[in-house]
């Protein structure tokens, strides 16, 4: 029980009926295999209702782990995460084997719960191959469980895996602002790949999700000036705003100076009326 944050347990029990709570408490009394079977069987004994999660509770469930959010989860997912935290973590080999067995035999919703619990598990580097595999998944819910609103990648992914995660999120048309720690882990390699992606899409006459430009702004060099200028001059209103934000955040004087020709945009950025949050709508 030592591994289970008190707030999480309390929060879970607030969501359950008496019968459900008793079932959960029974499971944690079993041996490893019994507990693992309970993990699998959870939907047979608990409701799949969405948990009620108000802003008061946000961020407090696991105090030492900012970014661990359960917004949008159902009760089964939360209960499964909680059950996994009861598996004995010693001996290490047995614990790893148990988690690996669950991964090996998991169906989609179990995988979602397993990826959700990763940031809370001990021996974090042991789960890295599983976590990077999930980024390759074609199953949307599995991908989402690791990529979106999960603090594990920011904490443990090496740069190359992190960049793949961001690129695949863009490629899948999912909202990048849900990647936890996205702004903190911007990097030059990623900016180059995104810049290439934008050029490729523009050449094909296709659009890009506008907010991906925010990952570039710190790394934009002078070779991008014509692209930005063309957006400022002839883009849609939203494209003009995005180009203006990129210019304003650039450390390159020549790029920043592009903005001086567009005083309205410059002013609304200065006044704080225009920032990236404007583009954080979920892409269709």
């Amino acid at each position: 029980m030592a591994n289970v944050p008190t707030n999480l347990t309390q929060f879970l029990f607030e969501q359950t009926t008496k019968k459900e709570r008793e079932w959960l408490e029974d499971q944690v009394g079993f041996n490893d295999l019994g507990l693992m079977t309970g993990f699998v069987a959870t939907p047979r004994f608990l409701s799949k209702k969405n948990i009620s999660y108000d802003s008061k509770t946000r961020g407090d469930l696991v105090p030492h782990l900012p970014g661990f959010e359960v917004d949008g989860w159902n009760l089964v997912r939360l209960a499964r995460v909680w059950l996994l935290l009861h598996l004995p973590i010693e001996p290490k080999e047995q614990f790893i084997k148990n988690i690996e067995t669950l991964f090996d035999t998991a169906e989609l919703n179990e995988l979602v719960a397993l990826y959700s619990v990763l940031p809370l598990l001990p021996y974090p580097s042991e789960w890295l191959p599983r976590a990077t595999d999930a980024v390759r998944s074609n199953m949307g819910f599995v991908f989402d469980a690791i990529a979106l609103q999960n603090p594990y990648p920011e904490l443990y992914f090496p740069e190359i895996a992190w960049n793949q995660l961001v690129l695949k999120t863009i490629f899948n048309g999912k909202p990048i602002h849900w990647i936890y720690g996205m702004d903190r882990r911007k990097n030059k390699e990623l900016a180059i790949a995104i810049s290439d992606f934008i050029s490729e899409r523009m050449a094909a006459g296709r659009t890009v999700p506008l907010q991906i430009w925010r990952l570039l702004s710190a790394f934009v060099d002078v070779t991008m000036d014509s692209k930005l200028l063309s957006l400022l001059v002839s883009g849609t209103e939203a494209e003009k705003e995005v180009a203006a934000l990129v210019c304003s955040e650039s450390s390159e004087p020549r790029i920043r100076s592009l903005l001086t020709k567009f005083p309205d945009l410059e002013l609304s950025i200065q006044k704080g009326e225009l920032d990236w949050s404007k583009f954080e709508s979920i892409p269709e």
Binding site: M36, T37, V40, A41, P43, R44, T101, D104, T105, A106, E107, L108, N109, E110, L111, S137, N138, M139, G140, F141, F143, F171, N172
Partner: protein, 342 residues
């Protein structure tokens, strides 16, 4: 079961019959396209189909023909598996990738889990499989233990059949019995009497692959009688019409068992069209091609009909239960008749 690679077994495969040469039907000018309008607007549930062996085209045709939900029983993949990992991957695909793939076409996918009778004869492996089976039996969307029962009717087959009946009791899941191709009548009786001996409620047991010879006893003893419309070896759909005319629709259901053999994933809609043409009342058709299978397997507590009865437009960009059908860079179904590719 061929355990020795040098031995040439004469054990026929899932679809072979020693009499297959005599059973090839004569050609008839009954074209499916001409009959599709008979079943327009009907909904079908195929409680036995092995999609892991089928293609995307099949899914598209099935959805178009009105099949809204299916059950994929765990079975033999055509060659014996050599290790536990193969079973794990196969079972995982039934609850994972295949379920997901099916959802891409708007078809709800359930499965039954079990160790099949042929591979029960490999005792070492069977023991290992039985150890992991509970982890799969309790999974969401697993609507039964199946397909289990007899193939050669060996002692080992009986041992693992009995063990799995016990698992079904423990997990409170229906059982889907595969009746043997050879010595069928005796195998069917034996399967039922063992199930009763283990205290299973016959209303929790679906006896599959019936024919004119077995149906009466199965129904009389209170079991569900499933019929497989499978060319050459099992039921033909004209014979099926006659069975329904004789026995009505109570506890009778139809499936395709389509797999890696020469089989037809549209067996149910085609049979429904034939029934309609032969004047079988619509309600009877609905029971044997849809409702009875749901009633039998819903005893698992795992079937929610709103998952497939809510209107589903096969628009791949549409949201289904709040989720997009398209995942991970999947492309929408394109108009193959268009010259332009965008």
């Amino acid at each position: 079961m061929c355990q020795n690679p040098n031995e040439r077994s004469t054990n026929p495969s899932h679809f072979e019959s020693t009499h297959s040469q005599e059973e090839i039907p004569t050609h008839r000018d009954l074209l499916w396209e001409d009959y599709q309008n008979l079943i327009h607007g009907m909904r079908f549930f195929d409680p036995h189909i092995h999609m892991v062996s089928r293609t995307t085209d099949d899914y598209q045709m099935m959805a178009k023909a009105g099949i809204v939900a299916i059950i994929e029983p765990a079975f033999w993949v055509g060659q014996p598996r050599t290790g536990l990992a193969s079973f794990k991957d196969y079972y995982s695909s039934l609850v994972g990738w295949e379920r997901f793939r099916s959802s891409q076409f708007g078809i709800k996918h359930y499965c039954t889990m079990g160790l099949n009778s042929r591979e029960a004869n490999n005792e070492r492996l069977a023991e290992e499989v039985m150890e992991i089976l509970p982890l799969f039996a309790y999974k969401e969307g697993v609507v039964g233990i199946g397909e289990i029962g007899f193939d050669d009717q060996t002692a080992l087959e009986e041992k693992y059949y009995r063990l799995q009946l016990e698992l079904a009791k423990k997990t409170k899941l229906p059982v889907q019995i595969h009746t043997p191709h050879r010595d069928k009548k005796r195998g069917t009786e034996r399967s039922m009497s063992i199930a009763l001996e283990h205290g299973l409620d016959p209303s929790f047991v679906v006896v599959d692959h019936n024919n004119e010879e077995t149906v009466k006893s199965v129904l009389d003893q209170g079991f569900w009688a499933a019929f497989t419309i499978y060319p050459f070896t099992k039921m033909g759909n004209e014979r099926m019409v006659a069975v329904v005319e004789k026995y009505g629709s109570e506890r009778i259901m139809i499936n395709s068992s389509a797999d890696w053999g020469i089989s037809d994933p549209l067996a149910i809609p085609k049979t429904a069209a034939l029934m309609k043409q032969r004047g079988i009342p619509l309600e009877l058709i609905r029971m044997v091609t849809y409702q009875n299978a749901i009633d039998a397997f819903a005893k698992s507590g795992q079937i929610d009909v709103t998952d497939f009865e809510t209107e589903f437009q096969p628009d791949p960009n549409a949201k289904f239960h709040g989720n997009s059908i398209l995942r991970g860079g999947q492309q929408p179904v394109i108009n193959k008749n268009s010259l332009l590719i965008q």
